[in-house]
Symmetry: C2
Subunit: 379 residues, 2 copies
Amino acid sequence: MEFTFYNPTKIIFGKGKIAEIGAELKARGAKKVLLIAGKGSIKKNGVYEQAVASLTFNHLKWIEAWNVRSNPTLAKVNEILLLAKKERPDAILAVGGGSVIDTAKAVAAGFYVNDVWGLFEKKVEVLNALPVFTVLTISATSSEMDPYSVITNEKEKKKWAITSDFIYPKVSIIDPSVQSTLPWKQTTNGAVDGISHIMEFYFLGKEQETTLALNDALLHTIIQMTDTLKSDSNNLSARSNLVWALTLALNGTSGVGLSKGDWSVHTIEHALSALHPEIAHGTGLAVVFPAWILYMHKYNPTTFERWAKNIWQCDNVGDAVKKMRDKYSFWGAPITLKELGIKKEDITLLAENATQRGPISSFKPLTKKDVEEILKLAL
Amino acid sequence: MEFTFYNPTKIIFGKGKIAEIGAELKARGAKKVLLIAGKGSIKKNGVYEQAVASLTFNHLKWIEAWNVRSNPTLAKVNEILLLAKKERPDAILAVGGGSVIDTAKAVAAGFYVNDVWGLFEKKVEVLNALPVFTVLTISATSSEMDPYSVITNEKEKKKWAITSDFIYPKVSIIDPSVQSTLPWKQTTNGAVDGISHIMEFYFLGKEQETTLALNDALLHTIIQMTDTLKSDSNNLSARSNLVWALTLALNGTSGVGLSKGDWSVHTIEHALSALHPEIAHGTGLAVVFPAWILYMHKYNPTTFERWAKNIWQCDNVGDAVKKMRDKYSFWGAPITLKELGIKKEDITLLAENATQRGPISSFKPLTKKDVEEILKLAL
């Protein structure tokens, strides 16, 4: 068991905490902030107002960039980079969910290079970034406490990631109460995303008992709290527990000792949403992960069986996958490609996209042919 | 549910990782290092040799301070501070267990003030500290990844703590393999210490399901791995899992949402070892915690019953405490004051020392009288 654990993000969690963002920026020397946001829901739920009131109170200047959408694009990153290079802010404040934060991180790192996509292609290394701060409005990706940014290059149909310690947010404010008014499907997508993050590590497990036991606990909690919210979406206690579990799902804790995780399901999902940008990330994962488990469980049966037993109280993996799909359906997530509008004849192109950089998965290399077989199990 | 989570310590974990300490120091600008150590066991088990080889390889100068003992003293801190203020190192490297690391942290903060004990008395605030690095040789206190230092002022019979973000270690190397050759009682003490850290938070729980579920997982893992090591102390997989769980027991994760924890058992134990410095911290906790649970469980029955059921498979707290004491005995820990050589007539003085700064415990203020009652349950 070998690993490095490092996560310097400061989390300030609780109702009303958005008011602290200005002081946190100021304490770290910020004077001029680039605020990045989505399509405007933060103007309806009071988050924008709270955030800028805190900036004003702390005498900070700011400029704004709006309209980041889900599956955020390279075009948008480049558009905001033009603004950033002109205005030269000394900090970036993302106010939104994973897409907004990932965009902010790409801008933060891209600020110091000529061609930001070169960082994603690994032609250039991330050697610096503007400090990123976040006010989280949708829990799902854990981007508020991780070193990743995933961006879609629409022209080249590539949804790729960068990883760097430089893009860990310095401070993230998580006020769970602002998530009560989200459309239900975003809670479902967030839960599925968090569960998927944990499982990208989990199934590699052999002797990492501490990490596996923590992951059992996180999976249980996410499922239990999402069930509670399904019938009572204003339950702040359940929301708080869900939201924190989703942050922990990918802040490093869940992956300790499990090398860098597998991520082949994410790679397949990234192909899905690169080719069909209307598909939400959590939605794609809900369809692909159960199929992937059915295909892969023979390669590390003890750990898949542990999961079947501990999480779903099933003696075999097939039954557990059925229960998992039933749960996802109950939450309103699609569980077949058909529900996403994808047909059998689309599979080859998806498998090609997913394996364009070679076979995927770290415990059993998956070729294009394997990915086709997995996707067939999701029809 | 409100909290702030911040833990910037980088953990490098695994067999052979001590070799990386020099490069980590160098990468953070260190040129002259003050190495602090205990009584010399690190010269027998190869840890010292590995650490200084890494310093040499990275062209770092260093000076050494030895003979930190368990329940580390203010006198020792002041002795090392004289050396530090003369030699002016730019980093501190603790090579040892919690006592060595706590001493290193006190020296790091004390370097910038005239009277280090003033920091413990809260007369002066910690506003700076030399950067602390650690090579951990005994897992127990979590000092390798926390912002605390506990020091005993022998003259005044006070065992007090400082807390500051400035004393988080920058980097801690944890090579679990070096702990295989420890005397068994140190594994027991470490396990009891970790379990106690988690429980200082746990029993405050009400609706913090994510944290409680993670704590159930950590408690299970610590118990299970200690049992395994009891019959096979060279089992590196069990050792790795235990060691990591003990770090997580007090790195912030286990306390999320549970205010700052209760710490009244620690306060009672600190009185014990302030008055009887020969008592190891873990040993004192093994005696006091079961008695404290018997006295306190009526104040938050649901959570104490959850603990009884989830950890000990018992329907009531009394039965669970019996199982807990049996487990501690099986590991070789004392479970009565008598075994520590403490008599009924010593109790008043202990209770006085524990409550010298006023009533303790955050969910039910414990007066001197309460502490006496608790200690009587441990006779």
